[in-house]
Every structure is written in C-alpha cells, then in structure tokens.
C-alpha cells in the first residue's frame, strides 16, 4: 500500500554544494537505522545552503533525525521497505516532511529526566518552530518547520 503522502520515487542523487535550489529535495530511503546518517546529510546540506548557522543547522538536523528514527523504529515500512523524506526550502524557512506507511502512535510525551523514552517528539517541538503529526490510515506524516529567524530553544542567536 502506498501512502498518498509519499513522494514519487526518485533516484537517490548525490547532493552537491549550494545553491540550495540545485539540491535534490525528495528521497525514498530504506527503512533501516543505517540510513539515518544519509538522511542527516541531506538535511544538513539543505540547511547550510539556505544560510542557517551552525547551531541552527545542528538543531534542524537533530529534530529531523528524531522524526526519521520514529519512522524507522515505529512505522511499518511500505511495500518497498522505504520511508519518504521531503526537503522544502522556502522564503520563510525550511520545511522537512518525513513519511512512513505505519500506524505509529507516539507514546505520550514524557518530560521526566528519568524517563527512558518519549523524548523524541518533545525535542522536535523544542528545536523546531512548528511540528505537525498526521497519523492517518495510509501512514504517518511528520512535518517539521524552522523559521529563518526566531528564538532558539537552546538560547542565543540563530537563523539564517
């Protein structure tokens, strides 16, 4: 079953340096943990190409890594055993969409320091300006957005 949210299959291109418009935006990645480093690389290149500074880029990459981890960990891979990663640079900031075909229902966020899980969504929300979770019959879509300018969750200056 194919999620309607899934991007069309694309060849996994090798991302190149800026400008951001030249970077590939849609990827289908095998739903295995070893692909996390690949996903982080794509997002890092896009964020840097957009002019996000080192700290902002780290935070964006961290948040997307959590979303992709959820897709790999909880979401059932689609028939092709892949998850979708869509990177959309915009005038107002960077949007990243992670999709899987599972029925991932996130465990309640647990902010207790001694909790062993439940931090993924909390961190995504803290590090990004907007996080939307769309659980639906066809799968789960997580959309993360980071403004070009805004107050960092961690503190200090950030933005592009």
């Amino acid at each position: 079953m194919r999620s309607p949210h899934s991007p069309e299959p694309l060849e996994a291109g090798t991302a190149v340096a800026a400008p951001v418009g030249a970077l590939p935006r849609e990827f289908r990645l095998p739903a295995v943990p070893a692909q996390l480093v690949i996903a982080r690389g794509h997002v890092e290149r896009a964020a840097l190409a957009m002019g996000f500074d080192e700290r902002a880029t780290y935070e964006i990459v961290f948040a997307v890594n959590e979303a992709v981890t959820n897709a790999v960990q909880h979401g059932s891979a689609d028939h092709a055993g892949t998850i979708g990663l869509f990177i959309e640079p915009g005038d107002d900031g960077l949007t990243v969409v992670v999709s899987d075909s599972g029925s991932f229902v996130p465990s309640p966020a647990d902010c207790a320091p001694t909790s062993e899980q439940g931090r993924g969504l909390v961190l995504m929300s803290q590090l990004m300006d907007q996080v939307d979770l769309f659980p639906c019959a066809e799968g789960t879509v997580v959309r993360l957005h980071r403004d070009r300018n805004g107050a960092s969750a961690i503190g200090g200056d950030r933005g592009a």
Binding site: A34, F62, N65, P113, Q117, I154
Partner: protein, 118 residues
C-alpha cells in the same frame, strides 16, 4: 564527524570508562547499551560515559544512558558523563538530563567526582 566507534577501559575494580566517538544515534544505541550492560555485569558500579569525541547523541541513546543510570543506582552505583561539545550539552539541558547525570569537562574530572561522592 567520524563514524561511530566505542571503546571500554577498566579503570579499577569499581570504575570503568566507555568512550564513544561519532554519531550516537538509533543505529549505534544498541552497541552503547551492550557495552554499558557488559561493564555492569562484569562488576563495575561506577561508569564514566565519555562523549568527548561524540558530536551527536539522540533520544534513543539518551534513553540508554538513563536505563544504565537507574540500574546502577539500584545497587548504589553511579554514572557520569564527560561532555565537551556544547551542542550535546545543550540537548542534555533541554531534556533535563543534566539534573540527573552530572556532566564533566574531562575524564579525570569525572573520576574525581566519584571520589568526592564516595
């Protein structure tokens, strides 16, 4: 940032140091857990997790650290972290982990903290 690797050093009868390099993500967390569990089962009661060369530690790896901390505390042990990367330290603070696991600038400083607590 280099790929993930992990090394364990037995300091003395009670203290062991587990050093990780690179990205400590969902792919690497099981290896970190195995190393910590191995140390605990071998008798170490005080663990130093050296993240001095780690550029990234995700929520699953944080969960592994908390799990090891709980297990050690049940038997009167302790777990501390060496952290020199400001980004990693910031993530620890965001999730409140710095309230339950003390962060130290060097391995010597971390081991000295054990001596002070003893």
């Amino acid at each position: 940032m280099s790929a993930f690797s992990i090394t364990t050093e037995i300091i003395d009868d009670e203290v062991a140091a587990v050093a990780v390099t690179g990205y400590v993500d969902f792919d690497a967390a099981p290896a970190l857990k195995d190393s910590l569990v191995h140390c605990i089962e071998a008798g170490s009661r005080r663990l130093v997790v050296d993240l001095g060369q780690a550029g990234f530690i995700d929520s699953t790896a944080i969960g592994v650290l908390v799990g090891a901390l709980k297990r050690l505390e049940e038997s009167g042990g302790a777990l501390v972290v060496v952290c020199t990367n400001e980004h990693v330290a910031s993530i620890f603070e965001l999730v409140g982990l710095d309230e339950v696991i003390s962060l130290h600038p060097s391995r010597d400083d971390a081991i000295a903290a054990f001596a002070r607590a003893a």
